[in-house]
């Protein structure tokens, strides 16, 4: 079944669809599909509208292979409203992939990334540029990880519009590890949504989800994170933590953790905190002479900085920290 037919089958996103619980679905324009879908692969298993959209609109597919053992840095950028990137990362390779924003998109922009990560490869996938004022942006990732591979998926979301990042990860090989870090620095009526599903399909696989939100104005963030641990997967570790600081009365956050665990010998945690800037910390800083606006800035920056601190030293970390230092 091609992507157009599949979209017609599942219908437009609605709030009662668990993949779209918190998303302002009314803001999605009804697509006018092309006559035919060029990609004839079977998408009958795909549940997420945003994953199908670029394929349905015949996005040009950009393919990139990174050879076994190679060490590569690349920038990925789609130059159209719709984009599709297919990456195959070889065994033991190291890759650092920065996704740049589409500068030409109009009303809607939808990108899809299919990433296969070979055994023992280490991959950083990150984006930190403020989006370019596209009213609606979808970014979908499908990440398949072989044994011993490590993926660091890191992002900083700023800028106007409605954005949704969806990610389906398949930790297929023993010991595969995925770390997701998401910083959302929002204001006005910015709206950023995450729909993450991590499937632990092998023993000793590990996943870390860590999101931090700094919400000002009337902004709104949501985090819908599922972890599924298969029946034969012992010694799985998974954690999910969402920390939010509401900097204004009118900002809001929604968090929905879902754990589906079909094995006993696993360690899965999730947590969610939401509050204002710490009054005692603000008092402490100002009581040492620091003006209150500066103190607030220091505290918000510290909150953001901590998110990326545990990452291994890498160009990705450098880039992310550089952006944080200028927030």
């Amino acid at each position: 079944m091609d992507a157009i037919s599949r979209i017609k089958q599942i219908g437009m996103p609605r709030r009662n669809n668990e993949l779209w619980t918190f998303f302002p679905v009314a803001k999605i324009p009804m697509p006018e599909f092309p006559e035919t879908c060029n990609d004839t692969a079977d998408y009958s298993d795909e549940e997420d509208f945003a994953a199908l959209l670029p394929i349905a609109f015949n996005a040009r597919t950009m393919r990139q292979d990174i050879a076994d053992g190679a060490n590569e840095m690349a920038m990925l950028k789609c130059n159209n409203d719709f984009g599709h990137t297919v990456l195959d990362i070889g065994k033991n390779a190291t890759a650092s992939l920065e996704i740049l924003d589409n500068k030409v998109a109009h009303k809607i922009c939808a990108e899809r990334f299919d990433i296969h990560v070979g055994e023992n490869a280490t991959v950083h996938i990150f984006f930190a540029n403020p989006a370019d004022g596209v009213p609606l942006r979808f970014r979908h990732f499908r990440i398949v990880q072989e044994a011993g591979s490590k993926v660091y998926f890191s992002e900083i979301e700023r800028g106007s519009g409605i954005k949704r990042t969806s990610l389906d990860a398949f930790l297929k090989g023993n010991g595969a590890r995925l770390e997701i870090r998401s910083l959302n620095v929002l204001q006005d009526s910015d709206s950023v949504h995450h729909r993450i599903t991590i499937r632990h399909e092998a023993p000793e696989t590990e996943s870390v989800q860590f999101a931090r939100n700094l919400l000002n104005g009337k902004s709104n963030a949501s985090y819908n994170g599922s972890v599924v641990v298969g029946a034969n997967c012992s010694k799985v570790f998974s954690s999910q933590l969402v920390n939010t600081i509401l900097l204004s009365e009118d900002s809001s956050v929604s968090v929905k953790p879902v754990l589906k665990i079909y094995h006993d010998d696993v360690e899965c945690t999730h947590g969610n905190t939401c509050g204002e800037l710490d009054a005692e910390q603000l008092f402490y800083l100002t009581s040492r002479g620091i003006p209150v606006e500066k103190a607030r800035e220091l505290l918000t920056q510290a909150f953001a900085k901590e998110l990326f601190m545990p990452m291994p030293d890498s160009p990705a970390k450098e880039r992310l920290e550089q952006v944080v230092s200028k927030l």
């Binding site: 008092f283 402490y284 800083l285 009581s287 040492r288 002479g289 620091i290 003006p291 500066k294 220091l298």
Partner: protein, 248 residues
Amino acid sequence: MLSIKDLKASIEDGTQILKGINLEVKAGEVHAIMGPNGSGKSTLSKVIAGHPAYHVDGGSVTLDGKDLLQMEINERANSGLFISTQYPTEIPGVNNVEFLKMALNSKRAFLGLPEIGEAEFKKLIDEKMELLEMDERYRDRGVNEGYSGGEKKRNEILQMAILDPKVSLLDETDSGLDIDALRIVAGGINHIMGPDKAVILVTHYQRLLDYIKPDFVHVLRHGKIILSGGPELALELEEKGYDWIEEK
């Protein structure tokens, strides 16, 4: 220098904690405030500093004639007030040295001075860290992040040394310090103290006052200073406790 007149303050639910505090502190003086737990000692220093948990019901606090209670929290500090709270706050992610530099530069900006030069600041901080026998670990960490109780207190005195305030209120700075640390910290306070400055120590123990000789000792109870005397009063309190005072 610091003049507190009939200071009354309450917490959010309306309970009055400070019920009319009077205290005159002149340049060059060391005052000690003692008193049972819950009497309002910590509240006093937080109210003077402008902590948002308290509402001032009446009275005045002036520093060199300027009304502190009308000032923003940072202005009070920049005017020469330093308070060290009983439990210094941890601020992960804000580097200790950068914080110190920012605090110092805030004060300098307030006084119309340019930012301190890199070399000058380094010299200053090296010198004060040496004075307080602080090791290098303090530099890289977040403000008070993961510090032991004693380390936090020492870090407070480092801030005092760098900011060089006119009046310092130190709330139980001796608690959590081992004998060596107490000697070092007390030595630091004595070093910073001078004829144009004043220190108010809140403490339960004579041992701090063995190092820093107070000129006056006050007993605070139920939100009021109920007795004041000379250094001998501290010794008497240590011996007899507080109950005899109200019987008088």
